[in-house]
Amino acid sequence: MSVIIYSTPTCPYCKQAKQYFKEHNVQYEEKDVSADSAAQAEMTKKSGGFMGVPVIDINGTIITGFDKPKIEAALKS
């Protein structure tokens, strides 16, 4: 399973998402889009131009925001 979270250091919803992954033993890769312009470009491309964080990529399913039901569904599929 591949889980990538695009985040910024100050974003509370990113922190909530990471906390959720930790509580559910989900390994994830974090990309700080405030420090990594390539990661930001990757995030906006994947999300169709979305400029907000977090953006979460779970096996190719792109979720904008900390949307727990969508995350749960993507992790199960």
């Binding site: 100050t10 509370p12 909530q16």
Partner: protein, 341 residues
């Protein structure tokens, strides 16, 4: 799906007010649940740095709310994920319906749902949210590194947001509808010293946004009056921080009295006009426009105390506490009107 537990106190909203209410309710040995809501942690979670909560010289808002949650859970408060989408009278109790279909029954309830960000109400605002328009500087300002942005506001939150954004962006156009900015002096000093005097921020007073420009992404705004001989102001992002609207829909449905701005009207004990219903935090008119973590926490404590006293007065009556139906909720006198002898 039914949950057969009967709670003494159900708190709707898991921000500073709701968690404080939970901590106090547990100390009164009330069976308590906090339903965290759509945005767990409320405004505190997205408050960036908090520097005015006793015990913490400077703490990240998310970390502060985590500490409050940990504290609440350690005392025995049941924290539930999800959102309460409806509250009904069920005989003499309150029946809370959650997003997952669960029903919770409680003898008393406390609305601690806070408020949501007010929107400009202009065309394209919804479509371009997340495409250059944001309501959360704490979340999204770092995405605009090296860009020029617009912040529309005038209150303390907008100034705090500008102070954070200033660490990332090259320029802030700070649009204020009126002729003054109302901010905590310490936040204003930082804004003025670090951003205004350095030319990084420019304040456009007595100016409104008339139109949002852009098709697939935000490109700029049309102003109510020209800036440098043009009414079009281009920028990479727009942060809207123009205040809040109380999440009062469920309270209103239950007959709870609201003030003229829609905030739940409470007395000094955080009681509403409806027996068994209390409220705390940003959803209330309890402290006027002064909406801070310390106020919310204090109001939560008071609401729990009042709920405890309410149950004590009606001791042993369980779900017989509240008379049905609510035909004419009593009215609480407005806070600013005192009886003249």
């Amino acid at each position: 799906m039914a949950d057969d537990k009967l709670y003494d106190f159900a708190i709707i909203g898991g921000g500073a007010a709701g968690l404080s209410a939970g901590i106090y309710a547990e100390r009164y040995k009330m069976k308590t649940v906090v339903v965290r809501g759509k945005d767990p942690g409320g405004e505190t979670a997205i408050a960036a740095t908090v520097e005015n909560y006793p015990g913490f010289k400077s703490i990240d808002g998310y970390e502060l709310i985590q500490k409050m949650e940990d504290h609440a859970v350690s005392t025995g408060v049941e924290l539930r994920d999800g959102e309460v989408i409806d509250v009904l009278r069920q005989k003499h109790c309150f029946d809370l319906l959650l997003t997952d279909g669960t029903h919770l029954l409680s003898r008393t309830i406390c609305f601690a749902l806070g408020a949501r960000h007010r929107r400009l109400g202009l065309p394209k605002e919804k479509e371009l949210t997340g495409r250059g328009i944001s309501y959360c500087t704490t979340c999204d300002a770092p995405l605009y590194k090296g860009k020029e942005i617009i912040i529309v506001g005038g209150g303390d939150s907008s100034v705090k947001g500008a102070n954070l954004a200033g660490e990332y962006v090259t320029k802030i156009y700070f649009i204020v509808r009126g002729g003054k900015i109302t901010a905590e002096p310490v936040n204003w000093d930082r804004f003025e010293t670090n951003l205004v005097k350095t030319g990084k921020a420019e304040i456009l007073y007595n100016t409104a946004i008339k139109e949002i420009l852009g098709t697939d992404k935000f490109e700029g705004v049309r102003l109510s009056k020209p800036y440098k001989e043009s009414d079009v102001l281009k920028a990479g992002g727009l942060f809207v921080q123009i205040g809040a609207l109380p999440n009062n829909e469920m309270a209103k449905k239950l007959g709870v009295e609201l003030d003229e701005k829609g905030y739940i009207h409470v007395d000094k004990f955080m009681k509403t006009n409806v027996d068994g219903i209390f409220a705390a935090g940003d959803i209330t008119d309890g402290a006027g426009p002064f909406r801070q973590d310390i106020i919310a926490a204090a109001q939560g404590a008071m609401a729990a105390t009042s709920a405890y006293q309410d149950l004590g007065v009606h001791g042993g009556m369980a779900c017989e506490v509240h008379a049905l139906p609510i035909i004419a909720p009593k009215s609480i006198p407005p806070r600013n009107k005192k009886k003249v002898p």
